[in-house]
Symmetry: C2
Amino acid sequence: MDTDLAAYLDDFTRRDWETLDPDTVDDPVRIAVVGLGWFAREWALPGIARSAYTEATVVCDVDPETTESVAAARDLTGVAPEELRSGAVADEYDAVYVATPNATHLGYVEAAAEQGKAVLCEKPVESTPERAERLVAACDDAGVPLMVGYRMQTDPAVRRLKDLLDAGVLGDVVHVHATMSQTMLGELSTDHDQWRLDPALSGGCALMDIGVYPLNTTRFVLDAEPTRVFGTTRTEHEAFAGVDEHASYRLTFPDGVEAMCSVSQNAQHASRFEVVGTEGRAILDPAFYEREDRGFAVVRGGTRADVDFEQVHQPEAEFAYFGHHLLAGEPFHPDGEHALGDARTLDAIYESAESGAVVELTD
Amino acid sequence: MDTDLAAYLDDFTRRDWETLDPDTVDDPVRIAVVGLGWFAREWALPGIARSAYTEATVVCDVDPETTESVAAARDLTGVAPEELRSGAVADEYDAVYVATPNATHLGYVEAAAEQGKAVLCEKPVESTPERAERLVAACDDAGVPLMVGYRMQTDPAVRRLKDLLDAGVLGDVVHVHATMSQTMLGELSTDHDQWRLDPALSGGCALMDIGVYPLNTTRFVLDAEPTRVFGTTRTEHEAFAGVDEHASYRLTFPDGVEAMCSVSQNAQHASRFEVVGTEGRAILDPAFYEREDRGFAVVRGGTRADVDFEQVHQPEAEFAYFGHHLLAGEPFHPDGEHALGDARTLDAIYESAESGAVVELTD
């Protein structure tokens, strides 16, 4: 690896955002986890436990049996949704992590805000821009900190890629390609997670659930907002009737950089993010799924360097950032305003897919 | 590799189009090579010599010194453009290979057609759709066979990828990503090849010169024509004033498959073509440049197989196909009509880039 690269990629998994010493944390942020689907059970709860800055204390799900079994297995307080929203056990948590179906985020976040609790809300933040705005306003009005769960933003691979871009090591960005797909029917086989097929609960399928990854990752690494979008959605398989099975979209950024993105809920697993610059390319492949090791390669002067680094547990890194910033009193990068950028852009892509025309985004 | 794949990928470099025995060819097709730029000198002439079905006999360039030196080095007849067009040495060749700047193809092809010679014309076939149509009509009217030099179509990696798609081994195609870029100012450093910067000679730069690869390769492997396009072009570096330095475009195919493509004449070298299907992905990386080994990988059931195969000399394969089909009296796949599809699509992409709107393509 050339020296320019090494300067940015040594100590690859460093937490550039960490100002506290994790070994000195006596009172980690106590978190109530709402929505005990596959991701919360398999990834978020373990991530909260691994992070020095957080601990789970309360769990909650619409399904009482799920709540009971998770609470028992982890020795936590299990409550029903109405109990949580009423604040019945509010003295047992400092923050609420909302991992319920998209269209139900608002109610839980409003309740948490009323209780004065910090919020970590899963992305996409809500099912429509209007509801997303209400959610953000609820936290603003109550003065509670809101972070949105873009776990790619705390992944070292993504942060190092951004470092290279910020330092100009890849030259000027020319274009971005991103693709992400899974066989949703096969990989997420439990009914519990199939709310994604219900547009009233999800707001959309391939684009809402998966499309937010290429979109947000591009916004984050370019530190820029798309000015226009063009998208299409498509549904072939009957299981996806009423929602988008496949979607593809391109995002135009102010300086003319184009991001070419495609996502699918029913295609061979793919997970790839590439930035092509005048002086170099950076490739994350695999890129997006919590359950796969990230790949990181840089091509400069025609030579490709594949970086071998210790994989992090993505939710651990995300919850560590959340807890750390609450304890340190620092603002989140992926906050509510940031998330509204995705909400508006996803909506514009759906509008473009419906109309067949390019949609301009204005502030 | 699973048995399904092996059935299609064994004997990887087989010439599925070859019906003659190359060892029995006594009278190869004699070719006049017009336009002795870098590609003709370094790749086409060696390719013609390697192919059992062809031999070069005449060379021609606007620069007399280049003509003389190439003719001397290879012991060929060197002629000036006006001599070639007048048919002064027409008894020395059976076919004309045209590798001059795009906007000058027409004159050479018209002359060859008048002489009753078969034509292999480089892509893009001309600088505008109108001139491309005149070129194709000239060959049709004269009854001479016309092939257009899409060397990807005779590359085994591309043909095997198409085999997998045709056999349904990858399921239904969901989307395509392709990117191709080079540092043109650095890689093509001689003045002789810089006609690409002159729109009057080239008809365009990144999109015309490079964009035709992702476009045509996608058309070929999907065996389908795009129905609408949306594209953008961009120029930052002063050397590209008046032409497109970067371009990106998406192609929509009749069944809703979207191809997301980006190209650049001034970015870190990239050369990648990927098809994502419901049952598998196929990846060519590197894909497009004659001067790099092609990579071929298939992902099915989450498992990636990288296929190791003997690389072919792309121009040799292309000229072998050309000579073979002339000797066998078989029609070319990449013929004039096929090339007009690219000419119209490239024009529509430029139109889209100018208007900022989606452009529908109609027959």
